[in-house]
Subunit: 344 residues, 2 copies
DNA sequence: TATATTTCTGGGAGCGCTCCCAAGAATGTT
DNA sequence: AACATTCTTGGGAGCGCTCCCAGAAATATA
């Protein structure tokens, strides 16, 4: 039942080559012939065999998305969900097929990954949530397959797309400072991730630009989770900050819970700024001021860069930093002064 | 740089064919030769070209997972997250590669789907979240590619894996009845889904077996979401049930929120049973009695059945119903009597 | 030792496609 | 009308692999 080019050619009264030309939209096929062939293709529902095609062209149109073994819980994370959607949408649009590689554990990773990058099955790879000194990234240097990392990797020479973590955190700091807050605490993300590190540095830099320090006791780190935000906020409370920047919205949500429990009103008693721009921070009470990052667009850019690499339009490394945006909401809506404080 | 069978053969001093035999673990290769070839393969890091392989074998080892356009929000749903993980884990283990098809809208679905199932790129397909009269399912009947649906489809002749929705809802009903509750309400899932329908029927059947009715005013339907559970519970409250079965844990969580707001204690004033067995129902206060369904295993079974279909070990349609389990927690911990009621 | 039997190995054919080249058809030029 | 030029078209070759068959090597049997 499976048709071949030859079959279509026979039905249309032309040769294999002509049918191939029609399918690949190459010129130099007489209009009448072209239409006749297209009609036969339409009627038969013929689709070219992908394997044969890629055997000769050396390309499959398939790009892989690797999510390392650690991040399984994160799969429910709205960030990942949106990232995957962005990548999927962009690859559909670009005519790619997306293959998903979720490794269950390190052994699976070590066993499957080398095969994946060398079998010729993939045109390219998008790597997410790489850790510091990521073994996947190390293994990849050898392979010839184009790779784009989402999030800044800690090695040189790799193409990646990242959001402006540093700039975003800087914005958060200056925003809070401009409202008159002086004891601004940080609910940090793990510095074992480049995102955590960049947000920390940007935040410190922003405070410094406003003439403010970040005393060690005003910084407690979490792990991106709501629970860690809750715990960290409780610790922070002992040192009486008047505003807090949480390095993720999820942690900000946890912090908000801790503040509510402690009877501290937001923003009247304390201002709160998050990072990410997830729906949760918009729908909370009060809604949380945040640094919105373009997650879907980041995924889409990764796909486009990867395709440029695959087609040779560009050569690695390509780096792109996506802009972030300060979204002011209730949790930092009023200035320190109008909140009736005793400071300045 | 890309090696071929011929290259490996030359390096090992044997022919293409012998190398192929070693790689495919076929017998009748002298041990010494086999080891020499394996050594060369190990040293060179050779991996067979997937396209060439599948061109001749007619198989790619790739299975597709289709998530229709509607369910994008559901991607964050813990259910989908776990299902995808189950499917991914099982397909890794079975030596398959997983391709993910997230369609953004109906047009994309209509355009891409036919190509996907006919290009020969996929050995088989797993379809999730099909709706009643699903166009994908209808289109598929024509195609030759093996398909397994997760969740009972509303058409005949299709292989599928489902959980025992009917039996689970029946258990919930008899459990509540056995505790002495008499006005047991239903917070239903949409009957436009087979899961919603089956849970409704099982629940009614279970009540009937205990000699209890389901008065129309004791049934309000939601849409699986937390918000819909909240709203539905508030409506239900007006008709004073003494226990409620929510057809999903997420809705049960919403119901719990409504009950707390109304000052109704669970389980003292009202018992509550959910369905799914998600982490959220375990960690809530009080923890919610639920019907636990084996999500990961369901995904794994779908992969195995699909592989049986692909290899011809089995022929469609294959149907498998996964068992569910009543998990008793705080929200129905005590019997109606010991809760100090006036009934019986 | 000669022959029958089994085990192992090499090369041809072909999977369905794209690329290339050369031949044929159509058009342009004098 | 005769030739040069351009546009179309067909078929050969080959992508890297598996399958199959026949010949070579090893082993068993007389």
């Amino acid at each position: 039942m499976n048709l071949t080019l030859e079959d279509i050619g026979r039905l249309a009264g032309v040769s294999r080559s002509t049918v191939s030309r029609v399918i690949n939209d190459q010129d130099s096929v007489r209009l009448a012939v072209r239409e006749r062939v297209q009609e036969v293709i339409r009627l038969t529902g013929y689709t070219p065999n992908a394997a044969a095609r890629s055997l000769v062209s050396g390309r499959t149109g398939v790009i892989g998305l690797v999510i390392p073994s650690r991040v399984h819980s994160l799969f429910e994370d709205p960030y990942f969900s949106r990232l995957i959607q962005g990548i999927s949408a962009a690859s559909n649009q670009a005519g790619n097929t997306l293959s998903l590689f979720l490794f269950q554990n390190e052994e699976e990773e070590a066993e499957l990954y080398p095969r994946v990058i060398t079998s010729g099955f993939l045109d390219g790879l998008i790597l997410t949530a790489t850790r510091m000194a990521d073994p996947l990234l190390a293994r990849t240097a050898v392979g010839e397959i184009p790779i784009v990392v989402v999030g800044r990797p800690d090695v040189e020479g790799v193409s990646y797309v990242d959001v402006d973590n540093r700039g975003g955190a800087l914005k958060a700091a200056t925003h809070l400072s401009s409202l008159g807050y002086q004891r601004i605490g940080l609910l940090g993300a793990p510095v074992s991730t480049t995102a955590g590190l960049d947000r920390l540095n940007g935040f410190v830099e922003g405070l410094a630009a406003c003439g403010l320090p970040l005393p060690p006791d005003l910084r407690v780190d979490g792990d991106f989770s709501e629970a860690s935000g809750y715990v960290a906020m409780r610790k922070l409370l002992a040192h009486q900050p008047d505003a807090v920047f949480a390095a993720s919205d999820t942690m900000a949500l946890g912090a908000l819970r801790a503040l509510k429990e402690a009877g501290i009103r937001v923003p009247q008693d304390m201002a709160l700024v998050g990072f990410d721009g997830l729906p949760g921070s918009e729908n909370s009470v009060p809604s949380i001021t945040t640094i919105r990052q373009p997650v879907t667009e980041t995924g889409a850019r990764a796909v486009h860069i990867l395709n440029d690499l695959v087609t040779g339009v560009a050569t690695a490394p390509i780096v792109e930093i996506m802009p972030v945006e300060l979204v002011i909401r209730e949790s930092s809506g009023t200035s320190r002064d109008s909140a009736g404080s005793d400071v300045e």
